[in-house]
Symmetry: C2
Subunit: 670 residues, 2 copies
């Protein structure tokens, strides 16, 4: 069976083009990706095809991940990789290693932001050379989003100058603690500080949980690995359940950059209360950028497969069947996701970059004035990007038809490792409420001027902007019309939210659509602003980016995330028809004129996509047959230990009939 | 840690109440469920807690399933279970055994419907006593929905009076063939019949694939098991890839109820062309009924967990945190799914029952006049029920927050085993097109009179029904208003579809929303018709069913499946607000006054739900801690083979620094 895949254009290595470098976020990022790709794809420890992870036992999959983590640590130390380089290498393994990137970042960032200078001098070198393995223990069995009601206690013992960490109830068990079930030696534990019976609220305590030279649990520490996750997700991560039985740590291990406890038990209040935002904001800022890449990878796999697969004939006279990507049912699902993924990545990169620059600055200056805005931006970005990505990845699987359900298509892994993000680092329905809350507060107080992400409230406040004339399909391509429509929708939703809140309604459900509408606008504006420099410099890929922008804009208007968003933009029948026509035309234009070029510019490699539907060296059918079937751990004689049982099962009827006949005979005789 | 679960009302065994019997489809079905439940839940082979399937290797999970299949076969033979009893027992294992219910049904139903009487006399007893294990081989690597282009050939050899079955290309490999990778001994193979070089199209050929006394493959038969599925789905099913290399079977093994081939190669045409619908219709008719149950089980788990979990305080003065089911964000996601699940089950039962009665009749009379209607009904039901169920199951997981992502919550398994149905037995975006196609045909020809499921076209044809007065929230509770709105929306969508088709547009994408709107109406009407006898007989549970009906009706109007459905029902701002108010009030009414009673009447047992979030004997936190964490295969010393590696990894830095220093020294010396 010869390979007929030569026309598939799936790269083995990243291809360096100006458009590609732009999409990947600039030269530095592109080069980092290329270097990591070369390192990993040529190292057998990181092979994605040598072991079929969905086939093996979870503990074996984790063992493999642990060896990968070790190898990455070795590489980081030997090559002097930056933290960013290290984190992105972990991400490229796609395997959520014990050293998962968010966890590494959150641990390091807490040391950095919450430790006193003396503490940093001791602990940061240990963490950086992996002399200790760190984790961050916040969530409890009984409390996730509601951090204030965490139950773990840290009681100051004046006598011994120690804190006593304790888990007083079952529900106080630290739960879902990443990289803690097997791996970590130290946890930053979030616990209520108690001094002389007084509760000072949550503080952070660096607690050793395993012996460094044996990996055994420290006295009083009870830890279990958490068991398997839904969808066979996060195979490389050992989440832990963690209980403390009066575990003692020295006073010097309370993270003391802000609040402090003195030797005599005096509590020194933190200078700044906002520092508590930091930890979650940091993770969400990373998520804003990286989530879009997960979507784009799924889109790329779906593109390559649906460009290969043929089914039915659009026109009965055709000799060859129609390539499935040419059907509206595929195009209209796939192309908008390509545009959305691009928006998530390009705008998300700005959020991440802005937050990084801000953090670097505020650590020095102690200026936290922008933190509320970044908090809002990252909450919105986290909710928006995880909703779009998880639904999008699954849409790609479904658009591939039956073969998308094979584990080797990779969509299952991609979904498992993104759909969890809807509920972690803050349940979207819970943290999403912070956006409407901020909208309400600043709208009422007329204080949105201080928050760039809410500046549109001023426009809304200025009242009914005159409805523009929308006569034709092409009117919908005008940014001012798009802006009017997005603002109009948002204004109606904000108005309804204000009324509902005034009426004392529970808005926790409707908030979600409002957060999505807010983010639609924020991302639309961010994307639009990116176009201007490209127009100015007459960029060679302006047409492609503009086509992506138009599909993004029209799809969030025509196919909003929730029906209530459609209801909030009342259009006449004619306007609706022209919006739909404009949307369909934009999708068609992108599909016909720009799609191949954009996919080529992203240039996801076979290694990055890790899908039997998108191999550089074989067609999807060859890959499904060779890797899926021929290679199956249940093919042929590999199950022969069961052959005898199956043969015997087919003879059960004889024995049962004989027994019944015998019983009948016996009864007749009696 | 004492159990505090006594108030959870999760039954260990089915509870027999009049309302429960009604919901479960009558006395016969209820009793069957109770009997199967007793048999399985008391037999350790079927224990759902003894082995954590998501933790173990796939082949071990399948091995367990194979032994369960054997035990069910033994029970069927010994107890004389009916096929239905057997199929429902398989379903209750939740494990998609090698003898998966759809596959068993489709094999048996093909023998029944497609074999001549002589053939039946030979093969049906063998199949019924499991002397052979059957499978149905239709889908190929290159062709799913487009059955006409299947490539497998069956060439008649006049010389030997045999058919020669062959797979001429890689893409002709039979693929996804259920229970064929390891288990089956005989396949009904769909292949193009060739006689003297002439192609007579697809026919069915009973082909032996494994030796009965060794389980080894027959000569010329090449079979592989397919490998793992996305989301760790269908662990108990060995799908197969199957190739035939000129495999010879006797002429008597072409299924010959309709078409026949005589000894001399003469081809006898089938009397009836419609028989080919049968096979898919049969499976889809089962799916119509059973899919809703999958949704209801997820709803029940979500109910029990969100009634236990507490988080935040709605009112800051509360002592105890608010139970999460009391938030709109949970209620508005969960309650409509309870209503939809009920609609799927109650209306789906009617579809299944109608089709069963019809099949029993038409086999005798040869009257196929209703087949088109059942075909349409089952296509609509399949698309509708699988879309609602798969999204609904995932919505339940997400509404449970972070803990829903633990494999032991069961949502992952439920999603894995329902989300595949979006693309199997006909990709929803492909088969869904048959509904609009029928709408178009019968609307144009004015022939909808012959098809009960399209009778609403007459109403649409009669033109603009006057817009009724909708002044208040309560107007939306009137069935005539609901019917007007559903028909109005459908009429607009049908109109748009007619225009699009006339304009030559590719409607394969927009068809999907139209099929959903059509099914909304069909299910709404079916649900409404169920209420009448209950009103007449003054049923004791009329209030509960009416509350479910109202939530169903208002949710399909207020929160339609696709935004374009919202756009197709143009309502004034005031009407929209009153619809939303009516919807919210109906959800609130059901939640406050009927929810507990309905959940109690469904009475899913701990065994049926199989979720750590809904155990009869322990709280969700106890179950997550004990079964998830303490019981994890990666807890404590179970990973000690890696301890040394981890300890050593923490010392890598020393060796690397020493080597670097040494290298530095060496360079300095040179």
């Amino acid at each position: 069976m010869a390979s007929s895949s030569l026309d598939r254009n799936i790269p083995v290595d990243p291809i360096d083009t100006p458009f590609g470098v732009f999409l990947w976020g600039g030269r530095e990022k592109f080069d980092r990706r290329r270097d990591i790709h070369q390192e990993l794809s040529s190292n057998p420890i990181f092979s994605k095809t040598a072991v079929v992870l969905p086939s093996i036992a979870r503990k074996d999959a984790w063992t493999r991940a642990a060896y990968q983590a070790r190898e990455l640590i070795r590489l980081k130390l030997e090559r002097g990789w930056s933290h960013t380089h290290f984190r992105e290498a972990i991400r490229m393994t796609d395997n959520m290693l014990p050293t998962q990137p968010q966890r590494f970042r959150i641990f390091m960032s807490n040391l950095d932001r919450q430790m006193s200078d003396e503490q940093k001098a001791i602990w940061i070198p240990k963490a950086e050379r992996f002399e200790i393995f760190g984790s961050y223990a916040q969530t409890e069995l009984g409390h996730g989003s509601n951090v204030r009601d965490l139950e773990t206690t840290a009681t100051f013992d004046k006598q011994t100058d120690e804190f006593v960490i304790d888990s007083p109830t079952l529900s106080s068990t630290k739960y879902w603690i990443g990289t803690t079930g097997v791996w970590a030696t130290h946890s930053i534990v979030v616990a209520k500080l108690l001094i002389d019976g007084k509760n000072y609220g949550n503080h952070l305590f660096l607690t050793q949980i395993r012996e460094l030279d044996t990996q055994r649990l420290m006295p009083g520490v009870e830890i279990y690995e958490l068991g398997p996750k839904a969808f066979q997700g996060m195979l490389g991560t050992d989440n832990g359940a963690q209980r403390f039985h009066n575990v003692r740590i020295p006073r010097s291990q309370m993270l003391a950059r802000n609040a402090q406890v003195l030797r005599d038990g005096t509590y020194i209040e933190p200078k700044n209360q906002k520092h508590s935002y930091g930890s979650m904001v940091t993770v969400r800022a990373i998520m804003a950028e990286i989530t879009g890449w997960d979507l784009l990878k799924a889109v790329a796999v779906c593109y390559h497969y649906t460009r290969y697969r043929k089914q039915f004939r659009k026109d009965k006279s055709q000799q060859i069947e129609t390539t499935v990507i040419d059907y509206a049912s595929v195009k209209q699902r796939l192309i908008p996701l390509l545009a959305k993924g691009t928006a998530l990545v390009l705008v998300g990169q700005n959020v991440t970059r802005g937050y990084d620059e801000y953090t670097a600055k505020n650590l020095k200056t102690g200026d936290f004035s922008q933190l509320e805005d970044f908090h809002l931006q990252t909450v919105g970005a986290k909710v928006y990007s995880t909703e779009i990505t998880s639904h999008g990845v699954e849409t790609c699987r479904i658009a591939c038809g039956g073969h998308g359900y094979h584990a080797l298509s990779g969509f299952g892994r991609m979904y498992a490792n993104t759909a969890n993000a809807l509920t972690y680092e803050g349940d979207n329905y819970v943290i999403g409420q912070q956006v409407p809350r901020a909208i309400l507060k600043h709208y009422k107080n007329k204080t949105e001027g201080s928050l760039p992400s809410l500046s549109y409230l001023t426009t809304i406040r200025q009242g009914e902007s005159p409805t523009p004339t929308i006569d034709s399909e092409t009117d919908w391509l005008k940014p001012e019309i798009q802006q009017w429509a997005l603002e109009k929708r948002l204004a109606n939703m904000v108005q309804a939210h204000i009324e509902d809140t005034a009426a004392g309604k529970d808005t926790s459900y409707t908030c979600h659509a409002l957060t999505m509408a807010h983010s639609d606008f924020v991302y639309w504006r961010g994307f639009r602003d990116l176009l201007q420099p490209l127009q100015h410099e007459k960029s060679a890929f302006l047409d492609q980016i503009t086509a992506l922008f138009q599909v993004f804009s029209l799809s969030i208007l025509h196919n909003p995330h929730h029906p209530s968003m459609a209801q909030a933009l009342p259009l006449s029948y004619t306007q609706q028809r022209s919006l739909r026509a404009a949307h369909d035309a934009a999708v068609e234009d992108l599909a016909t004129n720009h799609l191949a070029g954009i996919i080529e510019a992203y240039g996801f490699t076979s290694y990055e996509m890790d899908s039997a539907l998108a191999r550089a060296d074989r067609t999807p059918y060859e890959a499904l047959f060779e890797e899926g079937a021929k290679n199956s751990e249940m093919s042929g004689d590999k199950m022969k230990h069961l052959f005898e049982m199956m043969v015997d099962t087919r003879q059960l009827w004889k024995r049962i009939e004989a027994a019944k006949a015998h019983k009948g005979d016996m009864q007749a005789k009696l």
